[in-house]
């Protein structure tokens, strides 16, 4: 049995679908424990009790719809007009736009494709160094991960059974800190400008008019949830309905004939994530049944008695995880095991979620499997090593934020406590 399990784990490294690897391991484990294997499906069917799950497919659809439309270009135009006067102009704009766009498209790398192609030539034209520009775009492909309604935040909520509205609030200050640090760096690195860009009243009005329909999105979303109008799952439906109407009827960016393809693309992406969640429900149940997290906690406590040492080791562990796994698999596989251990050390689940996602965000930019590096390398036709080097200063700042987030729980917890 152990040999069989090892063989399956080897197959996992050779591009076998992860959900089948987890599923097969769960089936074998229950079978060898002489438990009826239908338990695996019973565990999966428990997903029908989760009211949060509905927000996943709907936000995935919103993200794909937005990225297939011309919304990224409109956002860029709008921010250029209204934030162009800031020191660090375009670099700051790039960071802000990427962060907002990533929050809505779920950090699946869409940002680098949708915005990178527009931003890189513009940055170079304004005299930014090439290395700086590449690093900026590569690392900002996952910036905004901590802002609502990012998919990884929702997924963490689903798995940890934590309140999504609290998670949404918890991410705002840490995400802003990260953004501000990067903006500070961008201001230092930006070239001297001869003249500040000036826009005529007509241009400003036009800029406002084109974005007028997409601008209220964050307000609808957050206002709806925190104004008590609807729960997060419903917020996803309202957002989906609104974006669908705007892109299809108002802007007509996506022809009706293309809609089924966009819809099924979203559902295929969701399906890939759902089956991993489903199978891991079963495997997690087995692990908990065998008291693995408890025993792991006992074991670790033999070496570490201090919450802060634990957090440091947790960060190192998660950074390695972030290097090896994509964010969805990492969340689904690691959270159920880490959560009880972290709670044993007195780390709050919401704080853990923010630490988790910050680590995984850094993992996006680190070899060997950093998604951002690959996408940027593909998009800009540059070797990975060069992009790695270019992202180093940005990674440094992300690490700094990680330290602050880890050792200053207040930053994550203050908003949920005040407003939640």
């Amino acid at each position: 049995m152990t040999t069989l399990k090892l063989l399956i784990l080897t197959l996992a490294l050779l591009r076998s679908p992860l959900f089948l690897v987890i599923g097969a391991l769960a089936l074998l484990s229950f079978y060898s424990a002489e438990i009826d294997i239908s338990v695996v499906i019973i565990e999966m069917a428990r997903l029908a009790d989760s009211p949060l799950l509905v927000s996943l497919p709907l936000f995935i659809f919103v993200g794909i719809l937005l990225s297939e439309s011309k919304a990224p270009g409109r956002m860029l135009q709008f921010t250029r007009i209204f934030l162009g006067w800031l020191p660090g102009g375009l670099a700051v704009i790039s960071l802000v736009v990427c962060a907002i766009f990533t929050a809505f498209t779920g950090a699946s790398g869409i940002t680098i494709f949708a915005l990178g192609g527009l931003l890189l030539p513009a940055l170079l034209e304004e005299g930014y160094q090439e290395r700086f520009s590449m690093g900026l775009i590569t690392s900002s492909g996952s910036l905004g991960l901590l802002f609502p309604p990012s998919l990884p935040l929702i997924l963490f909520g689903v798995i940890a059974e934590a309140r999504i509205d609290h998670l949404f609030l918890a991410g705002i200050l840490p995400g802003t800190l990260m953004l501000l640090l990067l903006i500070g760096y961008a201001v230092i690195k930006s070239p001297v400008r001869l003249a500040k860009p000036a826009y005529s009243a007509k241009e400003i009005l036009h800029g406002l008019r084109v974005i007028a329909w997409e601008l209220p999105l964050p307000v609808i979303l957050l206002g709806g949830i925190y104004g008590g109008l609807f729960v997060p799952g419903e917020a996803a439906a309202v957002t989906a309905f609104y974006v669908l109407a705007v892109e299809l009827i108002v802007h007509r960016d996506i022809p009706l004939a293309r809609l089924p393809a966009v819809m099924s693309k979203s559902m295929v992406l969701f399906g890939g994530i759902l089956v991993i969640i489903a199978t891991s429900m079963a495997s997690t149940n087995y692990l908990i049944d065998q008291q693995v997290p408890v025993r792991l906690f006992e074991f670790i406590r033999g070496f570490i008695d201090n919450k802060y040492t634990f957090l440091l080791l947790l960060n190192i562990f998660l950074l390695i995880v972030g290097m090896m796994l994509d964010i969805f698999s990492a969340l689904v596989l690691i959270v159920p095991i880490i959560l009880p251990i972290a709670e044993g050390y007195g780390v709050e689940p919401i704080h853990l979620g923010i630490i988790f996602l910050t680590n995984l965000q850094i993992g996006y930019c680190t070899p060997p499997v950093g998604l951002n590096l690959f996408l940027a390398s593909y998009r800009f036709e540059r070797p990975i090593a060069e992009l790695c080097y270019a992202t180093l200063p940005f990674l440094g700042l992300l690490f700094l934020t990680l330290l602050v987030i880890t050792y200053l729980p207040w930053l994550s917890m203050v908003l949920p406590r005040l407003l939640g």
């Binding site: 399956i8 197959l11 996992a12 490294l13 050779l14 591009r15 076998s16 679908p17 992860l18 959900f19 089948l20 690897v21 599923g23 097969a24 089936l27 009826d36 294997i37 239908s38 695996v40 499906i41 019973i42 999966m44 069917a45 997903l47 029908a48 009790d49 989760s50 009211p51 799950l53 509905v54 996943l56 497919p57 709907l58 109008l229 609807f230 799952g233 419903e234 996803a236 439906a237 309202v238 669908l244 089924p260 393809a261 819809m263 099924s264 559902m267 295929v268 992406l269 969701f270 399906g271 890939g272 994530i273 759902l274 089956v275 991993i276 796994l325 994509d326 698999s329 060997p368 499997v369």
Partner: protein
Amino acid sequence: MTEAAALYQTSKVLVILDGIEEKLLCLLLVAMILLACLQIFLRTVYSSGLLWIDPVLRYLVLWSGLLGAVTATAQGKHIALDIFGDRIPARLEPWIALLTQLFSSLAAAGLAWAGWLFLAGEIEGGGDGPLALPLWFWNGIFPVAFSLIAGKSALLLLMQGKALVGRNETPGNKPQ
């Protein structure tokens, strides 16, 4: 695109299935959006709502996800670890692909088997789900989806095997 994903387009059965699945997925997604919005509308305007909407929505999420996973199977779009990347020797690659496909078919068949066992239990002892429909109807998607995944994987395995044998018989013709 992976080799398997390119291969699937040569199979008529898989392409037709894909078309049906796409329509179903669109239908499910539209239903989810409309039902959730209707619920908010009823609650805000009439301060009431339909009790059945929330549970039905939760099952629609499962249906759309599992059906999405069925579609992802033939398109090679399942999330997988890719630690070795291009470091696998080109000569070994088709054999490894065949091996993982064999594993996928078996694992999916195992899940399908567990699914049918589960369904038998549900038919025997399960209660009613939303809309007074029996629970086994709503949960029936599990065995159905996993069986479809297993079937598709087996079909791809056959096609890959055939392509590999064909390639070895005519060593002069290196495939693209």
